[in-house]
């Protein structure tokens, strides 16, 4: 039997299909989040990729900011619970998850059973989130994917001290006006995100191993800066951005088992 998890974030929609709660069959990602046709597109794409039909899916759980308004799901679950389930499924030794999404950052501490011990979310502020990186990439007129390339070439990263995205924007412009290289500015931006998220993580107590999920995990500049700030290795994988959807698919399987007593979908 198949279950589907859909993670409808602020900027992207992700889907994962699981077979019998244990095998990942397919995944999809669309660069459009809540309030757009992104969720439907991600859903259709994963059905195409998996060669499954709607009626093949026994249970759907939605997560992310758009979870409550996604009517095709059987249930919804918070993204923190889903990230915890997803990461524990693939990396059972992980005790701390740092999830930096498009709009917020979250730090989750797990126990050995993968159950959330404690969690913290950042303030309703773009600083320390993917949105901050988007704004900065836009000022520098480079793509978001290029940030890590530029950061890796820095020899003297600048300090971006403003805690506010708007003020940081003018700080970046003033650094550029001073003739600081884009590489050093980009590295400073990555360090700035990392230092804010590290402060959040330390408030929640960091236990190894540490895994980074969410879209920003793809950015090696932020990942490396975070590893330096926390003094520990930061794990990530190709599934980092899909952890919410994966956790939702696991939750869908658990809910289906609970509701049907494990009786086969057929």
């Amino acid at each position: 039997m198949y279950t589907l998890g859909i993670d409808i974030g602020s900027t992207t929609s992700k889907c994962v299909i699981l077979e019998d709660g244990s095998k990942i069959i397919a995944k999809s990602l669309v660069q459009a989040g809540t309030g757009t046709d992104g969720p439907e597109r991600a859903y259709n794409e994963i059905l195409d990729a998996s060669k499954l039909k709607k009626e093949d899916i026994a249970h759907i759980v939605a997560t992310g900011y758009g979870r409550a308004i996604y009517t095709s799901a059987n249930a919804d679950m918070s993204e923190l619970s889903c990230h915890a389930k997803g990461v524990h499924f693939l990396f059972p030794d992980v005790r701390t998850i740092i999830d930096i999404g498009g709009q917020d950052a979250k730090v989750i501490r797990l126990n050995q059973q993968g159950i959330i011990d404690s969690f913290l979310m950042n303030d309703k502020c773009a600083a320390g989130t993917g949105r901050f990186l988007d704004v900065m990439a836009n000022i520098l007129q480079i793509s978001i994917n290029e940030l890590e390339v530029y950061a890796s070439k820095a020899d003297n990263p600048v300090k971006i001290s403003s805690t506010c995205t708007v003020f940081a924007e003018s700080e970046v412009i003033s650094q550029l006006a001073k003739g600081v290289t884009i590489e050093n500015v980009v590295a400073g931006i990555c360090e700035s995100v990392a230092s804010r998220v590290a402060a959040l993580a330390k408030r929640n107590r960091v236990e190894e191993k540490v895994y980074m999920s969410g879209g920003v995990a793809q950015n090696a500049g932020v990942r490396n800066a975070l590893a330096k700030e926390l003094g520990t290795e930061i794990l990530f994988s190709e599934y980092s951005q899909y952890m919410g959807a994966l956790g939702a698919a696991i939750a869908a399987y658990e809910k289906w088992r609970k509701e049907t007593g494990g009786k086969d979908h057929e």
């Binding site: 409550a68 679950m77 918070s78 993204e79 917020d104 159950i115 309703k124």
Partner: protein, 375 residues
């Protein structure tokens, strides 16, 4: 006799319309005195024949008050000043502002400039409230409030009347403690309903509020025991009156079985002693108060108090509702969190302010907390 639903509707109506209540009392020819958080000697105002009305601000956009305050300061206090500047307290004879935190001191001074037509009366509490000299300090501060009230309103103070008012307030305290305790056995009363019962107390004469609460207590006691599959939680913080936030708690099948909220139960924990001189007794009441972020306590017994409260009511967790930029609560939080963790009592932290329009993050936070508690 009213039904439970009718009483809840009455509490909701009063809690939602302080303006209407103020106008009602003014029309009756009574004088109204605004009482700013966190602890104001309402008994004194009541004993002088006036209506003390709680003034905890409102969920409004702060515009005018920004002329007097920086952005990073308590929004409760900012909204009090905003309402004052916008004329919402028109007709009020005076405002009593206790100096229980640094921000409140700023409010008092700014009030004089920003709302000159409503006289400001400071209430200066001592940091060391328990020794004899602390009690005397409190009494002297009460005398200053009495003197100012007499000068401003023309009303007269007498110890005999204060004694009667203290009895009325003690009866109200008792009713509020009892209703809080009884509500723990009534999951059908929502977090929003519970808030209305507590909030309405600030806008009604205490005798009337006590009568309604006692009526509700009698009705609830007479009801058969309800099945309760809700997740029992305790709330803690300065203020938890946002309907949007409380609805999220209700939507997540949670029940507030007890609280450590300054706007709610912290007000009603201690009575005025009965024997002795009434004004001395009122000062002794303040000296006996504890377990609050703005009341100096080197041992921070508040942390264990909340843990025990959760145990007493079989709560599965604590939701700390932290008013943004509230220094006393922020300083207490690490101590509370440490105590919760030590007691294996799950907790979560939600930051709120008077200008919150988006509750999405609070929704995710509370839903996650529910999922953790349900596991």
């Amino acid at each position: 006799m009213a039904t439970v639903q009718q009483l809840l509707e009455k509490f909701h109506e009063v809690a939602s319309s302080p303006q209407k209540q103020k106008e009602y009392y003014l029309k009756e020819g009574k004088k109204v005195v605004a009482c700013v958080p966190i602890y104001t000697p309402e008994e004194i105002i009541h004993s002088m024949g006036m209506i003390p009305m709680g003034t905890w601000g409102a969920d409004v956009e702060v515009k005018e008050a920004k002329r007097y305050f920086p952005a990073f300061i308590c929004s409760i206090m900012q909204s009090v000043l905003e309402l004052g500047i916008n004329g919402k307290y028109k007709g009020v004879s005076a405002i009593v502002i206790p100096y229980l935190c640094d921000s409140l001191m700023g409010l008092g001074e700014n009030w004089k400039m920003a709302v000159p037509d409503i006289p400001f009366i400071p209430m200066q509490y001592p940091q060391n409230r328990k020794p004899e000299y602390g009690i005397e300090f409190t009494k002297q501060a009460y005398l200053r409030v009495i003197r100012d009230l007499e000068n401003i309103t023309g009303a007269k103070f007498s110890e005999d009347n204060l004694k009667k008012s203290c009895d009325i307030y003690n009866a109200h305290n008792k009713a509020m403690r009892e209703i809080s305790s009884i509500l723990a056995n009534h999951p059908e009363i929502s977090a929003v309903n519970r808030k209305d019962i507590f909030k309405s107390a600030y806008f009604m004469e205490k005798e009337e509020h006590t009568r309604l609460v006692n009526e509700l207590i009698a009705l609830l006691k007479a009801q058969p025991k309800q099945d309760n599959n809700k997740i029992k939680i305790v709330t803690s913080g300065i203020l938890a009156d946002s309907e949007n936030l409380l609805k999220i708690i209700d939507d997540n099948n949670m029940q507030i079985v007890a609280d450590d909220v300054a706007h709610e139960s912290r007000q009603y924990r201690v009575d005025v002693p009965v024997d002795g001189a009434p004004l001395d007794n009122l000062a002794k009441k303040f000296s006996a108060m504890d377990h609050c972020s703005v009341l100096y306590d080197v041992d921070k017994k508040r942390a264990d108090y909340i843990v025990n409260l959760a145990k007493q009511y079989n709560a599965k967790g604590v939701i700390v509702i932290l008013t943004k930029f509230c220094d006393p609560e922020e300083y207490d939080y690490p101590i509370l969190k440490g105590a919760f963790d030590k007691a294996n009592l799950p907790s979560t932290l939600i930051e709120v302010d008077r200008q919150m329009v988006n509750y999405e993050q609070a929704k995710t936070n509370i839903q996650t907390f529910r999922e953790v508690l349900e596991y």
